[in-house]
């Protein structure tokens, strides 16, 4: 399983993705690879192709609630005209290049302050980060239990 947190920590709440990655790395969870990047790029397709499950974590603008979590499918090929990709395009690239279709999810954490050049999260975003991390840990635990049950 791979978790990719991405965003620019120098732009306030855009650092939510990397902040979650760092928090998860600090926990040293077995069986979970963690990557941190500024943005999604083409070679993430290769990394994703080697996994059975991938979770993309990004800041989200204008969403309801502290965070959202949803399964996604390959798509949005038209977006691959940029240095920066969306998760669906990474999956499509992964499928097209390597014939791999891992299960994939997006964890979007609500952020509010993106305009200023500053490090650190807003208070509301930091609270959302904590809520998203708690959710993710619970989700990972359930996923582990399901996997163990399937192998039993």
């Amino acid at each position: 399983m791979l978790l990719i947190g991405y965003g620019n920590p120098g732009r306030g709440d855009d650092g939510l993705g990397p902040a979650l990655s760092e928090a998860i790395v600090a926990r040293g969870l077995p069986g979970l690879e963690v990557d941190t990047d500024y943005q999604l790029v083409a070679e993430h397709a290769l990394a994703v192709s080697e996994q059975d499950v991938v979770i993309f974590v990004d800041a989200e603008i204008g969403a309801e609630g502290a965070y959202s979590f949803r399964e996604i499918a390959p798509g949005a090929p038209e977006v691959l005209g940029s240095h920066s990709l969306v998760p669906q395009t990474v999956l499509a690239l992964c499928d097209t290049l390597y014939g791999a279709r891992p299960k994939a999810f997006v964890l979007g954490i609500s952020g509010y302050e993106f305009g200023e050049v500053k490090e650190g999260l807003s208070d509301k975003a930091a609270a959302n980060l904590a809520a998203a991390e708690a959710f993710l840990l619970e989700w990972l635990q359930k996923a582990d239990q399901q996997r163990e049950a399937a192998h039993a």
């Binding site: 120098g10 709440d13 500024y38 083409a42």
Partner: protein, 480 residues
């Protein structure tokens, strides 16, 4: 001692990574004016004030998610000067060069294969749904896989030399904080010949496109201009990491040569215009009308006397033969030049990997401290200037950055207008394919428009078309 301060500017202007093209038509539907607006990240010059000098090479990487290493190294070179170090240890310089070649390689590969290839393979006016890398992969799946692996190779070089892909801490004032362990060297050596072979194929691909579309390349967004880059101090060879400044005219006349980059401000004036946040640099002796210039891969091919790696040098001679040795003014030839640089970088990487200095332990040099530092590097998109002053507490009091996209501002605007006039003027209906022609011209420069946030992929280039009455008649949004 004064406490470190964080200075924040609010509101911060010039921070978005969005680019916008506006095209104004007259009553006859002829293009009256066409402009590229890029809101560059100039706020950083104020933001950095008050930070400690040793922090700067790490902080400035946050200017850009595409070429953070270039900012890291340019700032580190400036801090070397402040640390009083004029000559790095061999290990430090070679580790930094390795980092830089990895960066230029991966950046160019991504641009050529993923961003430019769909335009080049399917035509500028092809349907939008056709112009993406997935269609390229359908025609040539091997190309897509190579592009990913080549870029991954460059990214891994960055990680090995800077510590991590993003916000690496490799370069520090006066040197580097790590060497390259033998096992990492062997990892890279194992596939470097494969990278060279693929780079040769990429040069061939770009070369053949340029020559097979000679008429298109000659007229598309092309015009004479001056060119500027660093060249190697001793002999004028291409040098992406260090050297002196050289500028040539469109016909190859030397404007200035082997000028230390610490004197850049004596050579270049940064002009401002009312309609753009971005400055318009020009060569002081020539004035604003005649003194504008271009930087980047093609500019470097034009200014370099030769390349000191054999395969890339042969490729350079091939490119120069097209214009009988005089500067090549064809904007689209940037793609060919870019691939020659990929080949050069990989040749340099192989050369460095075989150099035992990379395993040296003498990492930092020392000198007599100064209060001003200027670092210049040839970033993937062209010349990049970082200029700082610090106070007695090592806090930054002054910062001036001239990034590649700013150097190319006038050139990109001219390319936009040239293409708009040729492909949109007089047309009753403006199609998406026509507007894409404008984007192709911009894309040839590979401008960096994305120095801001990327939450959920919001980084569009917007094209707006206005009629003679000033009313918006068409618009298109596309990521670049």
């Amino acid at each position: 001692m004064t406490e470190p301060r964080l200075i924040e500017i609010s509101p911060v202007t010039r921070v978005e990574g969005h680019g916008k093209v506006t095209i104004h038509l007259n009553a006859e539907n002829e293009v009256d004016e066409a402009r590229l607006h890029i809101v560059e990240f100039r706020g950083f010059e104020r933001f950095i004030r008050g930070r400690l000098m040793w922090e700067v090479p790490v902080i400035v990487q946050r200017l850009c998610g595409i070429c953070p290493v270039s900012h890291h190294l340019a700032a580190a070179k400036a801090m070397d000067m402040i640390a009083g170090v004029d000559q790095l240890t061999p290990t430090a310089e070679k580790m930094r060069r390795l980092m830089h070649y990895g960066q230029v390689m991966q950046s160019h590969v991504l641009h050529f294969f993923h961003l430019a290839a769909p335009d080049l393979l399917f035509g500028f006016g092809a349907p939008a749904e056709k112009r993406n890398i997935f269609e390229v992969i359908k025609e040539n799946p091997e190309l897509g896989k190579r592009a990913v692996l080549m870029r991954k190779y460059g990214q891994e070089i960055i990680e090995a030399t800077a510590g991590k892909k993003v916000h690496g801490t490799g370069a520090i004032p006066g040197g580097i904080n790590r060497n390259l362990p033998i096992e990492r060297r062997d990892h890279f050596l194992a596939s470097v010949d494969q990278m060279i072979e693929w780079s040769l194929d990429a040069v061939k691909l770009a070369r053949n496109y340029t020559l097979e579309h000679e008429d298109l390349v000659a007229e598309f967004g092309s015009f004479p201009s001056n060119y500027m880059s660093l060249v190697r101090e001793s002999d004028g060879a291409l040098d992406l990491y260090h050297g002196n400044l050289r500028a040539l005219s469109s016909t190859g006349d030397m404007i200035f040569d082997q000028v230390p980059y610490t004197k850049y401000h004596e050579l270049i004036v940064e002009d401002v215009r009312s309609w753009s946040y971005m400055k318009f640099p020009f060569i002081k002796t020539l004035g604003p009308d005649a003194g504008w210039y271009r930087v980047g891969p093609l500019a470097r091919m034009n200014t370099a006397a030769f390349i000191d790696t054999p395969l890339a040098d042969a490729a350079l001679k091939d490119l120069k033969a097209v214009t009988c040795g005089t500067p090549n003014n064809s904007t689209l030839a940037n793609h060919w030049a870019r691939m020659i640089e990929v080949l050069h970088c990989v040749e340099k990487i192989r050369e460095l990997l075989n150099d035992p200095d990379l395993q040296g332990t003498d990492l930092i040099a020392k000198g007599d401290r100064r209060e001003e530092g200027i670092g210049v590097i040839e970033a993937p998109r062209g010349n990049l200037i970082h200029h700082y002053k610090v106070d007695e507490h090592d806090q930054v009091t002054y910062c001036n950055l001239i990034v590649s996209t700013t150097h190319n501002n006038e050139g990109m605007n001219r390319a936009v207008k040239d293409v708009a006039v040729k492909h949109l003027s007089g047309k009753e209906q403006i199609t998406e394919g026509m507007l894409n022609h404008v984007e192709v011209a911009i894309r040839a420069y590979d401008p960096c428009l994305s120095c801001a946030t990327h939450a959920l992929g919001q980084m569009p280039l917007q094209v707006e078309l206005f009629n003679a009455d000033g009313a918006l008649v068409d618009s298109l949004t596309q990521c670049v």
